[in-house]
Each structure stands twice: as C-alpha cells, then as structure tokens.
Amino acid sequence: MKEIRFHGRGGQGAVIASNILANAAFLEGKDVQAFPFFGVERRGAPVTAFTRLDDKPIRIKYFIYNPNYVIVMDESLLKAVDVTAGLKDPGIVVVNSKRTPEEMELSQYKVATVDATSIALDNDLGSKVAPIVNTVMLGAFAIATGEVKLDSILESIPDRVPVKAEENTKACQTAAEKVVLHW
Amino acid sequence: MAKPRKDERPDYKTWKDIPLTPVCNFTTIKGNLTGSWRTFRPVVDMDKCIKCGICWQDCPDAAIDWDEDHPVWRYSHCKGCGICARECPSDAIEMELEVKI
C-alpha cells in the first residue's frame, strides 16, 4: 500500500488533486481511496488531502499518519506546517518551489521541486495571487515517484477539473518535463 | 392498482383484515351523524341574509351547503358550534336551543 499526503491552501485544489491521483491509480488497476482532512476548509487556510493506493482491496478506514509521499503545493507551508510529520523513511517530498531540491532544508528526505506557480500562471490556471497548482504538482509527482504513469494522470484530469481541462493537461505535462529530482 | 373504494363500514375481524396503511376507505361522515351533538341550532332569517357566503366558507364541518344563491344547513351534521352566527356580518343567524324548556 502507498499513502500520499497533500499539503495546500484552501482553493489550490488539494482535494481534487487527491481524487485525480486516485483515479489515475484506479485506471492502472489499483484499489484506491481519496479523502480530504475531515474538517472545515476555508480559502487560504492550510488544508490536507490524502490518497491511498494498493494492489489489494483497501479495507482500512482511518487517517493517514505515515505517508510514503508528501506533496507540498505552496512553499510557504514549509514554515507553517510540519509537512514531513510521520513521513516514512525513505520518503519523497515534492515541493512547489523555484529553488532546487538542494536548496530546500529537507536534506534527510528525497526531495523533488517544480516551479508549479509559474507553470500554472503560464497556463492561465488561477490568478496571480491564487494560482491553482494541483494538476501541475501531479505531473511532478508522477515523474518523481513513478507510482502512477503520467498518462493515467492526464487521462484523469478532464473529468475532474471543473474548468480548463486543456490548460490543466498541458501544465501537468510541462511539470513532468521540468521537475528537478535530487537523490 | 389502487383498490376500488367501498363506501361502507368494513367488518374487520382480526389484525390481518385491517389494511396495512392506517387508511379509512369509506366516507366517515356518512355513518357519523354529528348533528346529534348539537345543543344550539343555527337558524337563519332569510330576510336579513345578504348571501355573502361567509357562513358557508367558515363552517369547520362543511355542514352548510350552498343552494344556488343561499345557504342551507345540513342539520344531520351541524354540531351547533355557532361560528356561522358569530361571523355573519348581517346578524342573520340566531342560535336557538334545540330543546325548549
């Protein structure tokens, strides 16, 4: 079983991202769960969402405490939230950042970075103050972890984003090309 | 298909006979002549009646019928509540004791 935790801010699309990832894995024949943090989400507030993937049927029905992977959709969250809490060793952290993985203060983990904000804005996803980076991060995640194929993510996007399916698909592909890995 | 209505009091013998739904399949008013509950009887003075229809409209038991242009009391069912007399704008209805002592 693989468990993934998304850290975002309300409005960035973390919940939809967890769902797209689950659908992508489902297309590859896996059993899946995707869920938001069971709380009261508000725009801008730190939010978390989760995806579980397994080759066997998933029967456990509780939270994810020890994820294999963490996706950080907003670099500023690194200061506000303990994003690596419970992360399994060796875990992978995928961060939305202009910086390279070496520049991140997460040396004990495998780190991948992608400038998702610029890619999102280049593709007209969200606004300057609130870029929507969810599909972009998934492109980076697919390459960084190899847990799902990029094609499965791309196939899952049009159904699950409320608008701009084409732009989201293109941004996701760009992120897959531009993600920087360090391990 | 809805069962055809039988307008008569059914003769239930056991819990199995009563319909599943607590429904009354016959017109209850037919067998229940509430006119016998009456102490005072509404009596209309047709000279005063302005045929406004307020008594007909306000009767809580639909015991006042409307015959072309004037009210007619169904004494078989009128309980003698007196609402018609109270509401009549021309004071045309008097409540009279059923049994004169």
């Binding site: 489902f26 769960q33 938001p36 069971f38 029967r59 456990i60 509780y62 | 819990w15 429904v23």
Partner: protein
C-alpha cells in the same frame, strides 16, 4: 453495462437515487450530507433526473413532504445527518406509522454541543424506535447497493416501511472509492415501479392517518409494523440473493461473519470500523490468534436469530459501539446481550464505546480491543463497559 467510478459516498447516494428513479426529493442541506443533495439538484437541473426537487425550510418539513409525496404514490428520497435527523424525529414515526416507504441516506455524525461534524452513530441510534429499517454500510459500494435493495424490499405491499441507509461522516461521505455503478437499464430491470395499494387521490378520496381507538385497531396497526419488520428481515436476505444474481455481486445478509465461525474471541461492530477490523483479524490470525469479526449490517430489523447462531460458540464476545446511551452503555452492546440472553450458552460480553465524535479508530485501537478480550478469555476480571482511548487515566470507577 455498469461502470466503475472513483466517487465519494455522497455522490454514490445521489447516483443511487437517480438510478432508482426517485420522483420527489425534498431535502435540506447539512454538513456532511450537503454534497448528496447538491448533486441531486444538479441532476434535476440538467434534466438527467426526472424528479421534483423541493427546497424545504427544515428537515421536519423535508420528511413531511416525503410522506405526503409517498402517499400520492411517488417514489421518494431524502438525505440528512445529525441535527437534521433528530429534527425529523416526529416525522420519522409518522413515516413508519403511515407505512410510506421513504428511503433516506443518513450521514452518521455526532450531535452538539460541543459541535462536531464527525462520525458517530448517536443520531441514528436515537431514532431506533421509530419503525424505520436501519442498515449501516461499510463501503461506498454498499451504500449504492443497499439503497437499491431498500427500495426493492420496502415498497413490497406486505412491507411498506421506510428505510434509513447509514454511512459514516467523512469516512464514507467524503472519501472517494471505486464504485461499480450499474446503468439505468440494469436498475430498471431489477426495480419495479412503485405501486401502492392506497394512494391520496382527489378523484377517489380516503382519509389517511385516521384516529384509532384503544379497543380497535391502534395496537393492531402497531403490531403490523413489527410483523412487517419480521418479514423485512427475511425479504432483505431473499432479495439480496436476487440482487446478486442480477448485479453480479453479493449483498449478503443481516450480519456479516468474517473468520468468526471457528473463532473463540469475536468482536461485534458496525459500519466502517468493521471494515478496518477485517485487516486486524487477518493480521492477528497470521500471528496464530483465535479472533473473528461479526458485523451487524441491519440494526432494524435486529438480527437476533443470526447473532445467536453466529456468536453462540464464542468463548468471549466484545461489542464496539460508536455511540452511547447515557446512563447505560452502547446500544449495540445492550441489544447483542439481549439477543444472547435466551441462548443456552451465554459467553461473557464486554462493551467498548469507541470513536465518539469521529475519534479515529485505528487498527491499533482494534488490536487493543482484542487484547482486552483475550484477557477475559483467560479468566481475568473485566469491566463490563469501557470507553476506549480516553485522554488521561482510565475512566474513574464511581
């Protein structure tokens, strides 16, 4: 042909209502049920679902509208949760008494104060005497299948009872899982049109909800509700077989036995906790421990006979409740004990109150319950009821 989709429990319930061709949906939104009625409103607005969607001013009105609509012969659906459900309380009695087969999804959520939006069965447990069928689901697939099955069973002329299909807040309502969604034709072929014997009809007037006197027939009408529950217990199982033949997947029975037939230590529980428990049972069995699970799916009708057969051989039985009857114990615990009292073997029963207000019930939580039960099996003294995972010391003994 059916399609597998990754969808939340709430969307699953919405799809089920559309596939079952619910004709009238009066609803009032409440977290965490909201996305059920949002989705249905979308279906109706787009013309995909041919139903009358009624915005009502409260849940009490929602249920009143369901009852009236059902009396005209319409198939009805609504959904609620927590405070919405308890506000419906009077109308729940009315729906069952009037024998209207209203089908409702209830998202099990805790009651305030203090406010909590999370999983807890207090809302539906406090409606257990209203005459409704109550089924507790442990997956989104089961939510879909149970809703279809409930329409099929509840609308039968000798049943005519309302049913509440319960799903845990967030754990099912907001969690996307793989759900095999049948197509319209498959559901149409399984589910006949609703055709009640008596309907509200201005051209053929009848009075509904009449007065019944002490000497005839109030008590008899109430007995008929019990009688219909007894029939429903059998019918659910029979119709589930037809369901399996038609849709190609089992629904099972009123209870689910998981590696319990040869187990000495059995945990009885419901809903999503039971799903997690299956993994725990497998892992403890791998370690050679003699444990099993019995999941109660139908709380009303209560599966007394099934439980006697499934639990009679056990050395010790634990019952985990996600609600509590204050002044006593968990309601499932009470009822399981009651079911076993007249059994010729009466193994010790231990009650656990767990997961109140959405407190996460982990695999380790459940392992802890089995550890406690093993000690009881070894002859150690035990407390009859324990609140599990309280913060601080073990609860005080007064």
């Amino acid at each position: 042909m059916s399609t597998k989709k990754v969808i939340s429990g709430n969307y699953t319930a919405a799809y089920a209502s559309m596939l079952c061709r619910a004709q009238v949906v009066p609803a009032y939104p409440i977290t965490p049920q909201t996305t059920i009625v949002e989705k249905i409103a979308e279906f109706v607005a787009s013309g995909q679902m041919k139903a009358q969607y009624i915005n009502v001013e409260s849940e009490h009105s929602a249920m009143a509208a369901c009852i009236s609509a059902a009396l005209t012969g319409a198939r009805t659906f609504t959904a609620t949760s927590a405070h919405g459900l308890v506000l419906m309380h009077e109308m729940l009695h009315w729906a069952a008494g009037a024998r209207t087969p209203v089908i409702m999804a209830n998202v099990n959520r805790a009651l305030a104060p203090p406010w909590s939006g999370w999983a807890d069965h207090t809302d539906s447990m406090s409606q257990r005497d209203t005459g409704w069928l109550q089924i507790y689901c442990s997956s989104n697939q089961e939510v879909l299948d149970t809703l279809i099955l409930c329409y099929k069973v509840c609308e039968q002329p000798d049943i005519m009872l309302p049913a509440m299909v319960n799903m845990d807040a967030f754990i099912l309502s907001h969690t996307s899982e793989v759900v095999d969604v049948p197509d319209q034709k498959e559901v149409d072929d399984y589910l006949p049109k609703f055709d009640p014997e008596y309907t509200l009809d201005v051209d053929d007037p009848r009075s509904f909800g009449t007065l019944a006197f002490p000497q005839s027939w109030y008590m008899e009408w109430r007995y008929k509700i019990q009688h219909a529950h007894d029939l429903a217990a059998k019918r659910l199982v029979d119709e589930a077989k037809a369901f399996e033949k038609h849709f190609g997947r089992p629904w099972g029975g009123l209870i689910e036995e998981y590696r319990s037939k040869d187990a000495e230590i059995i945990l009885v529980t419901m809903s999503t906790i039971a799903s997690t428990t299956k993994d725990v049972v497998d892992s403890l069995r791998d370690k050679g421990r003699d444990v099993g699970l019995v999941r109660v799916k139908s709380f009303r009708p209560f599966p007394t006979k099934d439980l006697r057969e499934a639990l009679g051989h056990a050395k010790v039985i634990g019952v985990a409740d996600r609600s509590h009857t204050y002044g006593n114990e968990g309601p499932l615990f009470t009822e399981v004990k009651g079911a076993l009292y007249n059994h010729d073997r009466r193994p010790p029963l231990v009650g656990f109150t767990v997961g109140i207000g959405g407190r996460d019930v982990l695999d380790t939580t459940i392992e802890g319950l089995y550890d406690r039960l093993e000690k009881v099996a070894d002859g150690e003294a035990y407390k009859e009821v324990t609140w599990i995972d309280l913060i601080g010391d073990e609860e005080e003994v007064v």
